[in-house]
C-alpha cells in the first residue's frame, strides 16, 4: 500500500507562483446564507473552510485553477473567479 500523506504534504508536491493579487474573491455575506457549501467538499485543493459563524474562510494561494468552485456554487455572485495574472499560479511539471 502507498503511504498516505497529510493534505499539507500533498499540496507541498505542487509548485505555486503566488501572485500578490487574489484571483478568486469570495463574498462572505453570500456564503453565510448558504446551507449547502458545495465548494467545501468539491475543491480538490481544499481551499474553502467553513467558519463557526456560517461563513467561509478561503485562500487562493494554492489554487489549481480548475474552476470547480464557481461551477458548483449555488449562490450567484458568491465566488468571483478569473485566472491569475500572467506568470503566476499553479505550475504542473509531471502532469
Amino acid at each position: 500500500m502507498t503511504v498516505e500523506v497529510s493534505f499539507e504534504d500533498r499540496m507541498e508536491t505542487v509548485e505555486f507562483r503566488v501572485s500578490p493579487d487574489p484571483h478568486i474573491v469570495v463574498d462572505g455575506d453570500s456564503c453565510r446564507g448558504c446551507t449547502t457549501k458545495e465548494c467545501v467538499t468539491a475543491c480538490p485543493a481544499n481551499l474553502f473552510v467553513p467558519t463557526a459563524d456560517g461563513g467561509i474562510l478561503f485562500n487562493y494561494e494554492q489554487c489549481f485553477e480548475c474552476g470547480t468552485c464557481y461551477m458548483v456554487c449555488n449562490t450567484k455572485g458568491a465566488i468571483t473567479w478569473h485566472y491569475p495574472e500572467g506568470g503566476h499560479g499553479v505550475v504542473f511539471l509531471r502532469s
Binding site: 500500500m1 502507498t2 503511504v3 498516505e4 505542487v14 480538490p44 474552476g67 511539471l93 509531471r94 502532469s95
Partner: protein
C-alpha cells in the same frame, strides 16, 4: 494537465516522423477497460506489439514537456509565442466584432482581425464572445490525479512491460457515490492514478476527490500496482464531458474557438480522448484563419466553414456519432448496477460449485440481474441503446 493517453497520429501531416522527437514517456502497448466493485474487478485487457513501433497508437507524456515541444514547432514556423501573459478579455469594434484581446501586461492589448480562443475548459473568451449558452455544471467533470514515483524496472515488472512500453487502464465503478470513473497509466518512472467525477455528483457527495483516489489505490486489484509509490505531484482539472450537445457556437465575428474551450473532449467510455481533438481543431482553425485573412472576410459568415470542416473531420464526426454516450455512462445503472452485475456474472461462471451442477449462462444472468436490481427488459433496452451509441 491531462489524464491519459495522447493519440498523436493527427500530427502525421504536420510534423513528419513526429515520434522521433516528441517528448514521450511511454508508448502504450497495453490498454485495459475495467469494471469494479469494492471487492471485485473484471478487465478487457488488450496488448499488441504493433502499438510499440512507428507510427504507434498512443503515448503517455508530461504536458509540460509535450506542449513546450509543440510550442517550439509553432515558433520555428514563425509564430511569436508570448508566455506568462493572461488574456483577460476581448477587444471589440463598435459593431461588436472581435478585434483582438486584452492582456494583463502594461499596454498589452493586441489588435487582430481574428482571434482563435484556445483558453481551455473555462474559456472566458468564448463566454465573453457570447458563444456559450448558460453554464451547465452537469456537462463537466473534475479530474483529480496523483503522480507516484516508482523505479522504471518496477513499473515494467508490475505491468508486464518491456522498457519504453506503457499501459493505460480506464475504470468504471470505482468512484463510490459520485458518478464518474478512474484511470491508471504508466510514465517512465512514475504512474498516474486518479478519478474523474461528475460535478453535480461531487457537489452533493460528502466524499472529497483525494479520498476517492485513495479508495481506488486501496482496491485489491490496484493496490499491488501502486504499492510503495511516492506522491510527487497532485493535480486537478475540469473536463468538458458533455459531448456533442454541449459544443458551443464555434465561431463568431472575428473569433474561432478550439480545443477544450470548444468542449471538444471525447469521454465515451471505451474511448477517452482530448489532446488529439485539441490539436486537430487548432490545426483546422489555423487553416481557416489563413484563408479568411487572405480573402479579407473574418465575419461569422466567412468563418462558417470551420464548423463544416470539423463535421467532416473526426473532431465533430466522432462527437456526433457518440453524442448519447456521456449520458449513458453517467447513468446510475451503468455506474453501479452493471459493474456489480458483470462481476457477479463472471464470478458465477468461474466459481466451481461441486457437487452442485453448473448453472447455464441464461439462468445465471437472470439470477444475477435480479440480485443487482436490474430488470431483464431494462438490460435488453440498455444493450440496444449501447449498440446504437457505440455501434
Amino acid at each position: 494537465m491531462y489524464g491519459g493517453v495522447i493519440y498523436a497520429r493527427i500530427l502525421d501531416d504536420l510534423i513528419p516522423n513526429w515520434w522521433e522527437e516528441a517528448p514521450v514517456q511511454r508508448w502504450v502497448t497495453r490498454r485495459a477497460t475495467m469494471v469494479m466493485t469494492p471487492t471485485q474487478s473484471l478487465s478487457l485487457d488488450y496488448r499488441t506489439q504493433a502499438w510499440g513501433k512507428p507510427p504507434y497508437n498512443g503515448a503517455t507524456a508530461y504536458r509540460s514537456e509535450f506542449d513546450a515541444w509543440l510550442a517550439s514547432k509553432a515558433s520555428d514556423a514563425g509564430a511569436t509565442v508570448v508566455c506568462e501573459t493572461t488574456a483577460v478579455g476581448l477587444r471589440r469594434a463598435d459593431d461588436g466584432t472581435v478585434s483582438g484581446i486584452r492582456t494583463d501586461r502594461p499596454d498589452g492589448d493586441i489588435s487582430s482581425r481574428l482571434v482563435v480562443a484556445c483558453d481551455g475548459v473555462n474559456s472566458f473568451l468564448a463566454k465573453e464572445a457570447g458563444l456559450y449558452p448558460e453554464l451547465d455544471p452537469g456537462n463537466y467533470t473534475l479530474g483529480a490525479k496523483e503522480v507516484l514515483a516508482l523505479p522504471a524496472e518496477t513499473i515494467d515488472q508490475r505491468f508486464g512491460l518491456s522498457p519504453g512500453e506503457g499501459v493505460d487502464f480506464e475504470i468504471l465503478g470505482c468512484t463510490g457515490d459520485v458518478p464518474g470513473g478512474g484511470f491508471l497509466y504508466t510514465n517512465s518512472d512514475t504512474v498516474s492514478v486518479g478519478v474523474v467525477l461528475s460535478l453535480p455528483g461531487l457537489a452533493q457527495s460528502k466524499s472529497r476527490p483525494e479520498q476517492l483516489i485513495r479508495s481506488l489505490k486501496e482496491h485489491p486489484t490496484i493496490s499491488p500496482l501502486v504499492e510503495g509509490g511516492e506522491l510527487v505531484e497532485y493535480s486537478a482539472h475540469l473536463i468538458p464531458e458533455g459531448g456533442y450537445d454541449m459544443v458551443p457556437q464555434l465561431y463568431g465575428n472575428g473569433i474561432l474557438v478550439a480545443g477544450d474551450a470548444a468542449a471538444l473532449c471525447l469521454a465515451a467510455g471505451i474511448w477517452l480522448e482530448g489532446v488529439n481533438f485539441a490539436i486537430a481543431s487548432g490545426s483546422i482553425a489555423g487553416q481557416v484563419a489563413v484563408e479568411a485573412l487572405g480573402s479579407g472576410d473574418t465575419s461569422a459568415r466567412g468563418l462558417a466553414t470551420y464548423r463544416k470542416r470539423l463535421e467532416k473531420n473526426f473532431v465533430l464526426a466522432d462527437h456526433k456519432k457518440l453524442r448519447n454516450a456521456p449520458h449513458l455512462l453517467l447513468s446510475e445503472r451503468v455506474q453501479t448496477r452493471y459493474p456489480q452485475l458483470m462481476c457477479n456474472l463472471v464470478e458465477g461462471l468461474f466459481t466451481v460449485t461441486n457437487p452442485t451442477p453448473k448453472s447455464g449462462a441464461i439462468a445465471l444472468t437472470r439470477r444475477e440481474a435480479k440480485r443487482a436490481g436490474v430488470r431483464i427488459g431494462q438490460l435488453l433496452r440498455d444493450s440496444v441503446s449501447a449498440i446504437r451509441t457505440f455501434g
